[in-house]
Symmetry: C2
Subunit: 480 residues, 2 copies
């Protein structure tokens, strides 16, 4: 497996991404099913680790998992006006089943607000039934024109939370709790990806939402990636589906609902935040294999000696580390090093006859390539040393990504500066324009307002486009 | 919540089942999506526990998880002759997407042998690539005429394993390993459901398989339920999709493939094996809540006293027990007892002011209703006592189900006996008939050959139908 199977980032960032996806055994484009991919073992194992850690957070914040049907009667989409405009053009329709034409077609869910709204209307009667805090892990389908593995695919896997509340304040608190305690916390602590927490503009919000919040990450090419969204749906879906409750004063009220989701697109964000020209780089908390042990020997005698040491060294690892011993005989150690480097395993342990004699091993960290990342350490205390090293790598990847974002972010005061800055990263700016202004800027610069960051100074300044005074700052960027 | 919301089993077993599904908050029929259900929190939480424990076993036997697309080009189904006959009549078809008619329709996967066969043909080149041992957790769709929650639904959730091997012997070993080490072990150890391990007849095998193995369980009405299947597909799909490899002698050979699956139908098996006229009964290993603590008090002072004791008693439970403290104030203890009984929580702990004074609690086990299942025990050592009790309940449920199966199984020597026995349970019989004989018996008795049990005496006897001498025994039963 020659190294040059991976295009360098400088040569072609897009091709580099596709090369990583392929060579790290993450996914394959399923050319016979338009816009879909096959998740291969490494890709799916990363998703399982994401799912487990997200699910823990979703349950810890009081939500229960449920599962609604894949199919939605097509007429359901029509009930919420913005929603149908947003999703109707990109649905896949089931028109035949069991050998017969269906009287009313179904759509494969592009998202489940409508079918869930229908059931919430049946289930919720009294204020005592509220809040309803449900989530589901499932596949959804949107017939996208241009697709890229993980980032945009016709079918994707995600979780979608759907909650119903008695008051606007509770719905808003839920929306922000998910944004901060679940999504942003997961992105930064588990994915080691720093994110902006922000509000979407009217132009960019979810079809049918009152307000959409998001977390936005910066990729290595300076572009933004929306990594998760949390929507306060107001009473829009409650009115469309008749989700009402009787309050303490025996008055019938419409509920306030929310929805929020993250998807397998997070895998794309992970790749484009940390990986390098040698292959995938994974934060230890999402690495299916955290440590690979490569025994080195030239003959059967050395093999016996080395493997005995490896067995002893790894005896206490089960349950503490996710590890592999690569004892394949038909490939060389060099081939193995390269393969595990491409697959992003955070730590490699090499054990040869000399190491056995000296009571040491060689330890190589994936995030620091070459000699700089390699050290020779005693076998004594190796387990604790590796666990500490994994923590260090996790923290270091986050810091590196944060430093990159800082370097590639700038405050811009003029439209000319904005145009320049979106070539290299995030452009922070005062903003008081209209949706039409936003549209024009997008056409001229290919950049969009990614969000109004929630943490911002309240000092006034002048809008980068209209020159009007405002206290509102936004972040412009080109986006995936 | 009056007790009579659940029909007794003696009155109407079918209605009893539907009542349990509804009252235990397991599922709801999604009447707007034909033949589909909504999995509600209890139902989905049980599935998550099943999935986790099955997945552990699937990975422990060397398999990796992957994910293939939901949609399959319709023409793929046609490539394996038996397969298309089996599945084409019941598929749902996507004919429009993104606002346009599709040139070739897709079907929503009824099972994934075909699309996976297509990719295995691309991926497998050499004997070094074998075996390929993949599994996926996903939804599938079969447009069934008659549906029942969990047991038979248009959409259902399952895992489907798909493996490719160099030789028939390896494929056969894989098929049996899944049957014994994964499915039968899970059914008996986790679900507490005894199962027969057997081979399907030609009439009952999977469309396209060489041999289908199954685990069969007995429900409380004496009917059989196929709880899992494992298929040796021979070279049928390998030939249909061109899955070949180059062996050590540089000869191109067709692979031998297998597939195997269990689904959310297991939840139906669980209900119909253990539950009673009071509601759901769950084996502790699948109980989302294993212990519910109900504090009992009449005023605020008592409440303070009792809740302090409850907090202390449960302090060490996190991570060891799945438990709930039901401290709702607006419902009575009696209401709570009833609700948790219906929902199948294995152990109930009651703590009142007298218990606090005496340093005791009341302990009630769900599997032994009424006074017989209730005891007063010291607070000291309560955690260990409950853990031991959960083990005892798990074992006891299995033994009870096994005793029931034994009582409702009989060896039959004549067709008249067979007709009688299938009214009450499993009929073991010698068998040397044809597929046509089997068909005729089904029409006359509504019973089918569930399997040829793998563990059987090899002594000869006379076929229950033809009278011919044979050593082959089968089990007849009416089935779900």
């Amino acid at each position: 497996m020659p190294k040059d199977v991976i295009t360098t980032r400088a040569t072609d960032y897009n091709q580099w991404y596709l090369d990583i996806v392929r060579e790290a055994d993450m996914a394959e484009v399923a050319e016979v099913v338009r816009g879909c991919i096959v998740f291969k073992p490494t890709g799916w194992a990363i998703w399982e680790l994401m799912q487990r850690q997200l699910d823990d957070r979703i349950k810890a914040t009081g939500h229960a998992n449920v599962q609604f049907p894949l199919l939605i009667p097509k007429s359901f989409l029509l009930r919420e006006a913005e929603h149908v405009d947003g999703f109707a053009p990109e649905v896949a329709e089931v028109t035949r089943a069991g050998g017969e034409e269906l009287a009313e077609p179904y759509v494969i869910r592009p998202t489940s607000e409508t079918i869930i709204g229908y059931f919430y209307a049946k289930w919720i009667r009294s204020y005592r039934d509220l809040p309803v805090l449900y989530n589901q892990w499932c596949n959804v389908m949107r017939w996208e024109l241009r697709t890229r593995p993980f980032l945009r695919t016709a079918e994707f896997i995600w979780q979608e939370g759907h909650t119903a509340h008695a008051t606007e304040a509770e719905a808003e608190a839920e929306t922000l709790k998910i944004l901060y305690d679940v999504y942003a916390d997961f992105a930064e602590q588990v994915m080691a990806v720093p994110v902006l927490r922000g509000l979407k503009t009217e132009k960019e919000k979810f079809p049918g939402a009152l307000r959409s919040y998001c977390i936005e990450a910066m990729m290595q090419d300076g572009r933004a990636l929306q990594a998760g969204t949390s929507h306060n749906l107001g009473q829009n879906f409650a009115k469309a589906f008749g989700i009402t409750y009787t309050d303490q004063h025996n008055t019938v009220q419409h509920c306030w609902t929310t929805s929020w989701g993250v998807s397998t697109r997070l895998i794309g964000a992970l790749i484009m935040t940390h990986s390098d020209d040698e292959g995938l780089v994974l934060p230890p908390r999402l690495a299916p294999t955290q440590v690979v042990v490569v025994p080195i020997y030239k003959n059967d005698e050395e093999r016996g000696l080395v493997m005995a040491a490896v067995t002893q060294l790894t005896a206490a690892w089960a349950g503490r580390l996710r590890f592999k011993i690569d004892d394949r005989d038909h490939v060389t150690p060099g081939f193995k090093f390269n393969e595990w480097e491409i697959k992003g395993v955070p730590v490699r342990v090499e054990v040869g006859p000399k190491d056995v004699a000296k009571g040491s091993v060689a330890l190589a960290r994936r995030d620091v390539p070459g000699r700089a990342g390699k050290s020779f350490v005693p076998q004594d205390g190796l387990t604790e040393r590796i666990i500490a090293l994994l923590d260090e790598i996790q923290a270091s990847l986050y810091q590196r990504a944060l430093a990159f974002r800082t370097e590639h972010s700038a405050f811009v005061s003029t439209y000319a500066e904005l145009k320049q800055q979106v070539e290299r990263g995030f452009a922070w700016a005062y903003w008081d324009g209209t949706t039409e202004d936003e549209q024009r800027i997008q056409e001229e610069t290919r950049a969009t307002i990614r969000c109004l960051p929630l943490e911002q100074a309240n000092a006034p300044g002048r809008c980068v486009y209209t020159g009007r005074e405002t206290t509102r700052q936004v972040v412009f960027a080109r986006a995936y």
